[in-house]
């Protein structure tokens, strides 16, 4: 990372989320720079998922603001709206249509057309297949062919397709929820390689993970959540797994 601080692509300021009288998040501040990979760690119920939902547009914050690419938002109205400005989310369940082929999944909701007529628009299958091959090549996902049914592919390939779907449309910030939770060692390494590729392309990545090795390998910085508060913002190069675990459990507090 550069020593001079670049402009963050996304910055969440004073995000608070209350459900009734209980806060799920309290005055949370975080940012991610272009090409940076940031880890989100914390125990269950620490506020990680709430932060992800707010950043992905699934839920509005009670108060606070999000600055994305130089524009200030109170909230992203919906995941679709967040996507349209360049914020993508790769869900833990991947949200793929298992009965459909690779191309259909990559282009779901963003199909290319021969004739544009609303719901009756005629699909341009050839163009989408061609772009699928290019995109999978760029991202480094190996699948047999664009026409393969997604349900028949391996966990690593499916994760790769979900990431390619997020990365393929000029997105600037990608949130990944437990990207390798269901994968074996080799497949995990493959997905890590894909994520490093995204960083090299200048995409900001946020990884929610319980996997300390993964965070230490992939991330530049880690935010530690505890009881709805961000209790740590540490550079991976300057910390140890033990220190992070101490922050997660509350044995050690470090000012952000």
């Amino acid at each position: 990372m550069n020593s001079q601080s670049p402009t963050p692509i996304i910055e969440a300021r004073n995000i608070t989320k209350r459900y009734g009288g209980v806060h799920a998040l309290l005055n949370a501040n975080l940012y991610v720079n272009p090409g940076e990979c940031v880890g989100i760690m914390g125990d269950n119920g620490a506020g990680k998922s709430t932060m992800v939902k707010i950043l992905s547009g699934a839920q509005p914050a009670t108060s606070g603001s999000i600055h994305f690419d130089g524009v200030q938002y109170d909230s992203f109205g919906s995941p679709v709206e967040a996507r349209s400005i360049g914020v993508e989310t790769v869900y833990q369940d991947l949200s793929l249509a298992d009965d459909l082929d690779v191309t259909s999944n990559l282009f779901m909701g963003r199909e290319e057309y021969l004739v544009k007529l609303g719901d009756l628009s005629i699909l341009n299958r050839a163009k989408m297949v061609k772009r699928t091959e290019e995109l999978l090549g760029e991202i480094g996902v190996n699948v047999p062919k664009p026409g393969s049914i997604v349900g028949g592919l391996s966990g690593g390939q499916r994760q790769g397709i979900a990431i390619a779907r997020a990365a393929g449309w000029g997105s600037k910030f990608i949130i990944m929820d437990e990207p390798t939770a269901a994968l074996g060692l080799q497949e995990t390494e493959h997905v890590h390689e894909i994520i490093r590729g995204l960083k090299r392309r200048g995409i900001a990545v946020m990884i929610v993970s319980h996997n300390m090795d993964q965070v230490m390998q992939l991330c530049d910085r880690v935010y530690v959540f505890r009881r709805g508060v961000i209790v740590g913002d540490v550079r991976v190069a300057e910390t140890t797994p033990e220190e992070i675990i101490a922050m997660i459990t509350g044995a050690k507090q470090l000012s952000a």
Binding site: P79, V80, L96, A97, M108, G118, L120, I122, S148
Partner: protein
């Protein structure tokens, strides 16, 4: 079954083969069912063409198409609803209501307005189902079962359970109209199928029907307007049911409130026999056409050989169970 599973796996590994060899290696158990059923139909029809002089008369063959037409149109709509992850038990009731409405209106206001009102009845019933399923989030079984009861109840109260007759002579003319033996009903069947095929195969809406049926939450996250897709799908189901109901009036010459009572299950059976499992995300219009032809040829054979018509549901039931079992076993082996 082992060999079947091996075939499936081989195909996924190599991925590439095309043509006849590829055709012999279905990618899924659903495709396997479809191909077996297609072979059964083709072999059966060829055998009958050779064996039965009555079967091969043009008159009988046209008759088969005519008989396949009404349930065929309903099954076309059903195919969409099943791909979207649901089905519709109210299509028979909708067909009867549309037919009765068309018959009733035609007496005073003429055939054209009658048909228009009949189609509108189908559209409204379908949109009603769609809203119950997509917005109120009722399971399709309960939603369409309830809708079926509501429509049938209303219809019997409104008609006093009596057929609507006599009807204007244009109905009869419509029923008798044909192009070199191909009846009006069959012409409409073919047109509706071509239209539905194009809609499902080439349009964004068609692609989204598959997406919603395969993973509705994932589709929603990807920007597919799930409610809109579902409501459109059930609207298409309602309108196809109405078309069949109106065509039945042109054949029978009366608007009958008890018409089409077996159509919902026949249409679902046809789609399943044609190789589309319930559950959504997979299948194609060829399933509906194949299944309906199988059922119609079966009925025709029983008639030709003077076998009790009660064997029809028996054979249909066996076929449905065989199809569903094959798909279920295929899925288990895959995991």
């Amino acid at each position: 079954m082992t060999s079947v599973t091996e075939l499936i796996q081989t195909d996924q590994r190599t991925g590439e083969s095309h043509g006849f060899i590829a055709w012999l290696r279905p990618k899924s158990s659903a495709e396997l069912v479809q191909r077996v059923m297609l072979v059964v139909l083709v072999v059966g029809v060829v055998a009958l063409l050779i064996a039965s002089p009555v079967f091969r008369t043009p008159q009988n063959l046209l008759n088969i198409i005519q008989q396949a037409s009404l349930v065929g149109i309903v099954a076309g709509g059903m195919q969409f609803m099943i791909i979207s992850g649901g089905f519709d038990l109210s299509v028979g009731a909708t067909a009867a209501a549309a037919g009765c409405a068309a018959a009733f209106v035609s007496i005073e206001r003429g055939l054209l307005l009658g048909i228009a009102i009949g189609l509108l009845v189908g559209l409204v019933a379908g949109i009603g189902n769609g809203i119950l399923i997509a917005k109120v989030r009722i399971n399709p079984f309960i939603a369409t079962f309830g809708m079926q009861a509501v429509i049938t109840g209303l219809l019997f109260v409104a008609t006093d359970a009596k057929p609507i007759a006599p009807l204007p002579a244009e109905w009869r003319q419509l029923g008798l109209f044909n192009i070199s033996g191909l009846s009006f009903v069959s012409i409409v069947f073919i047109l509706v199928m071509v239209l539905l095929f194009g809609l499902l195969k080439f349009t964004r809406y068609g692609k989204h029907v598959y997406a919603v049926g395969s993973n509705s939450e994932g589709s929603r996250r990807a920007g597919v307007r799930v409610s809109r897709v579902l409501i459109t799908t059930y609207a298409i189901g309602g309108v196809t049911a109405a078309i069949a109901g109106i065509l039945l009036v042109s054949l029978s010459g009366v608007g009958s409130p008890s018409a089409g009572s077996t159509w919902s299950l026949l249409a679902i059976a046809a789609v399943i026999l044609g190789g589309t499992p319930l559950g959504g995300g997979v299948g194609g219009l060829s399933s509906a056409v194949l299944g309906v032809l199988l059922l119609t040829v079966l009925t025709n054979v029983l008639t030709l050989y003077s076998i009790s018509a009660h064997w029809q549901p028996f054979v249909m039931g066996l076929g449905v169970l065989a199809a569903v079992s094959t798909e279920s076993i295929g899925r288990m082996r895959k995991k």
